[in-house]
Amino acid sequence: MSDSESLFNRRTFFLSAMGGLGFAALGLRMAKLQIFENSEFRLEAAQNQFNFTIIPASRGPIYDRFGIPVAVNRRDFRVMVVRDEFEDSKQLFKTIDELSGYFNVPYEKVEQTKKDIKTAPRYLPAQIVSNLSWEQYSQISLFKAQYPGVYPEMGESRNYPLGESFAHIVGYVAKANDAETKIDKDAKHPAIRVGKEGLEKTQEVNLKGTHGARKLEVDAHGKIVREIPDPALNPKSGEPIVLTIDAEMQQLAYEQLKGEAGAIVLMDVQTGEILAMASSPSYDPNKFVDGISGPDYKAYLENERHPLYHKAVRGNYPAGSTFKTLMSVAALEAGVIREDEHINCPGFIYIGGNRFHCDARRGHGSVNLHYAIKASCDVYFYEVGRRLGADKIAQMARRFGLDKAFDIGIPSVSKAHIPDPEWKQKVFKQPWHVTDTINMSIGQGLVGVTPLQLAVLATRLGSFGKEVVPSIIRPKSGIARRDWPSMNINPDHMKAVHAGMVGVTSEPGGTANAPFGIEGMKIAGKTGTAQVRRITMAERAGGVRSNASLEWKLRDHGLFICFGPADNPKYACSVIVEHGGGGARAAAPRAREMMKAVILKDPSSMKAYNPWENIAKKDGSENG
């Protein structure tokens, strides 16, 4: 064998070995992809193969205590476009313009739609128009073939049949913003709304249910090959919510406040259930569901009476003379005054070198507790406050539920504030002054309360000192709590305060003395007039200006708290009318209307709606 031949043989052998090595490397690569990374690639293949389209779950409805719907889902016909199916955005916008013109969509909304489409992911359908009638839906379905990429769709949209009266409680849903879609990716779907305010916001998790999906096998071009049924992917409807609110009472309360700014809270004394909680003025939650128009929203924002603000739980008002009820309890409990002890009221009092005036310019003369409550004598309570001291007053206020944010399931419930020396030092960096105590005694100065807290105050007074806690959502059991712990207040002291409050509404000289309207029935109440401006010495000398002569914003707030029937309290109510003038004139008559209606109807004695009961029954019958 020649040298060159053996060289050739060596080299072919070398090349064969290289080829073998090369193929071995290919085999290793196969092993890497097919054995070690098999599971990841199988997943990726499945992601290619299957496409999930979201089927929105039906949102849980909200009912009043008797099953009247306050938030429901209405069948909604709408038209969607799928951007991916258009050649370019020019053609897409042309189609949008055409369809918008056909359905008379306002220009502003069309522009918004186009803007939304530009920012949304390509594969997501976008809504052109919603709330179509059945006829319009049929028309577009018929002509669908002429508009590729356009899909008429049948879905649900949220509706609030009682609109404004429930707006602050229920809130509303709207399209999710970026932060919300980050939490819940499904919310990007154009037909899905998320809770933005009220119970819709706080109860979002329960209300939204579980969105379902359609599992579709698709090819590389997005064409659907077949649908794969999967029962696990069916949508699950959201949970219903039953409110403690009685829609009739709620609407009555809202009507009582028509034309005014203010709030009414009506509670069941025994259970703490809120039967009505109105805030006025209000807004139409239905406007928000598909996006509120700019001018409408601006009008709400710029209204000086703040319609978007939930005054019943967020509004901070001076308690005014309604505070005297708990002052009385505190004084009797502390023993700084006896029920029959008299204090002279000359119309003013000097405390700590300052002169404090009584509402009655010439004074009430010699007053006891009963008369002091009935006639709302300031001087009496200045003296009581001086004897008690700020800490004891604040303590009792807190026991009655002031200075506490009750978590009733509504967002931004305010705790307001009850001042004490420590608090003032912390917040204002100023030492407590005796004048602060005096102002506090009549619910002025730094005292801030919410209408809800005032209703709780009235409820706890009416229940003879039980720590009743308010609620607005009925439990699934359908049984409201009644076994509230006692506040350990001497019943005699409670009785004395009750008597004074009955005096307010039913005795001559009572600040809100008027016939209640039901034969043989009385309610116990207390007026309050919260000063918004400071009355100067000069003005006092020349006669305090009447509220009618003042600009609306400077008028006093009118307050009233009450419970009834007086001999066996079942319902309690608080009313605040902003800048409505005195409590007797502005608030008491409205509260009286509420009490009359609620006592006559007596909703607490009626069987409440319970959707879960029906479910349980159905299951039972099936088993039987």
């Binding site: 060159s4 043989n9 064969s16 290919l26 196969m30 992809l33 097919q34």
Partner: protein
């Protein structure tokens, strides 16, 4: 070595048709038929269980070209020896013609039309280069082929068309031609020091070429290949989808016609360049190794035939063609598995497509020819055994 000569004289039937048929390597014919059948099975599945449009033409072509292969094998080897230079010259002119008047397909000029016939001269060029080099080395007739000076002309023979083809631009075919040339120079017996020098040089050249010579889309292919995630919907799409197809196959595969990537069209070009990915998806690593073993067996036969030839022309021809086949298979397999940039390179016997079937079977016909004529005494150049 006298014995061998005696052998030839004894073997009287060597020049008869029957004798030649006996000498044909039927084992290779069997292996090739097995692979082509596997290809037909894959193409039948790729069309969703239809003979058309791919499987049936694949079978018909194979049957036609396997006959052609045998005819090529039986023609006297001196005919191919004589044809080597003219064929190279024609191929060269055609490559230039494509550069000048070629049709542009997918951004590249690759074929010219003569009447209704499309000619892809670059395919033709691969074999012509092997033939030309085999003849050149046969004619050299030196005992020591180590010095560089003997290899300058072969390098020009290979590189000149390679560069022209790359210019078309067809990086896959161009580099195949260059690689075949390089390996043949190596086979011919150049000193190792030049080989090592060439490897170092090639790497530097690549770096320079990347910056100055390559077209943008070629560069993009390279960067995409290095990081397919960068361009998931464009160039990287093919690699990404191909890797998903392969990876989801596992060891046993997802089953014939059950590959979701292939059947739902996610795998691009599943009937041509990416047919091997479909094989790996549906038949798994098992099927992949089976195919590679068949290819390796064919190539081992190729090299054995090269060794058995008594003349250098036969050795170089069979060796060169074997290398060519190896380049085909490994580049295609590496490409679908994401180890090599996406170049238009089909998988022999498995991919649908007439011109690749023609050229590969023609080339193997030349290998068979070497087997049949291994003892032929060539009258030029160095004779083995003397």
């Amino acid at each position: 070595m006298v014995l061998n000569l005696l052998d030839i004289t004894k073997n009287e039937g060597v020049n008869s048709i029957g004798g030649k048929l006996k000498r044909i390597e039927w084992g290779m014919v069997l292996l090739v038929s097995l692979l082509a059948s596997f290809g037909a099975v894959l193409l039948y599945g790729a069309a969703g269980g239809n003979w058309m449009p791919w499987a049936l033409p694949h079978i018909v072509r194979f049957c036609m070209f396997i006959v052609m292969m045998i005819i090529v094998a039986m023609i006297d080897i001196r005919f191919w020896y004589n044809l080597a230079y003219p064929a190279y010259a024609i191929a060269f002119l055609l490559v230039i013609a494509v550069d000048l008047f070629g049709h542009t397909a997918l951004g590249a000029q690759r074929w010219i039309a003569i009447g209704p016939v499309r000619i892809q001269p670059s395919e033709f060029m691969k074999i012509s280069v092997v033939l030309a080099l085999a003849r050149y080395y046969q004619d050299m007739n030196f005992k020591n082929m180590g010095p560089l000076k003997y290899h300058i002309i072969p390098m020009i023979i290979a590189l000149a068309p390679a560069l022209l083809i790359m210019k078309q631009p067809d990086l896959g075919t161009g580099s195949t031609v260059a690689l075949v040339g390089a390996f043949m120079v190596f086979l011919a017996g150049i000193y190792w020091r030049y080989i090592i020098g060439a490897i170092v040089g090639a790497i530097s050249l690549f770096i320079i070429a990347y910056d100055f010579v390559l077209h943008d889309f070629q560069k993009k292919r390279i960067t995409t290949f290095l990081n397919p995630e960068l361009d998931k919907m464009g160039q990287g799409y093919q690699i990404t989808q191909s890797k998903i197809a392969i990876g989801s196959g596992g060891f046993f595969g997802v089953g014939y016609m059950n590959g979701t990537q292939s059947q739902l069209d996610f795998l691009p070009e599943r009937q041509t360049d990416f047919v091997f990915a479909m094989l790996l998806e549906e038949f798994g690593m098992m099927g992949g190794i089976f195919a590679l073993v068949l290819f390796f067996a064919i190539m081992a036969m190729g090299f054995l035939i090269a060794r058995s030839s008594r003349h250098f022309f036969g050795k170089m021809l069979a060796g060169g063609i074997t290398i060519l086949l190896f380049i085909y298979v490994s580049i295609n397999a590496a490409m679908v598995m994401g180890l090599f940039p996406v170049v238009g390179m089909p998988m022999p016997f498995l991919s649908h497509g007439g011109s690749v079937m023609l050229s590969v079977l023609f080339a193997l016909g030349l290998v068979q020819n070497v087997k049949v004529h291994r003892d032929k005494i060539m009258h030029t150049g160095f004779q083995s055994g003397k």
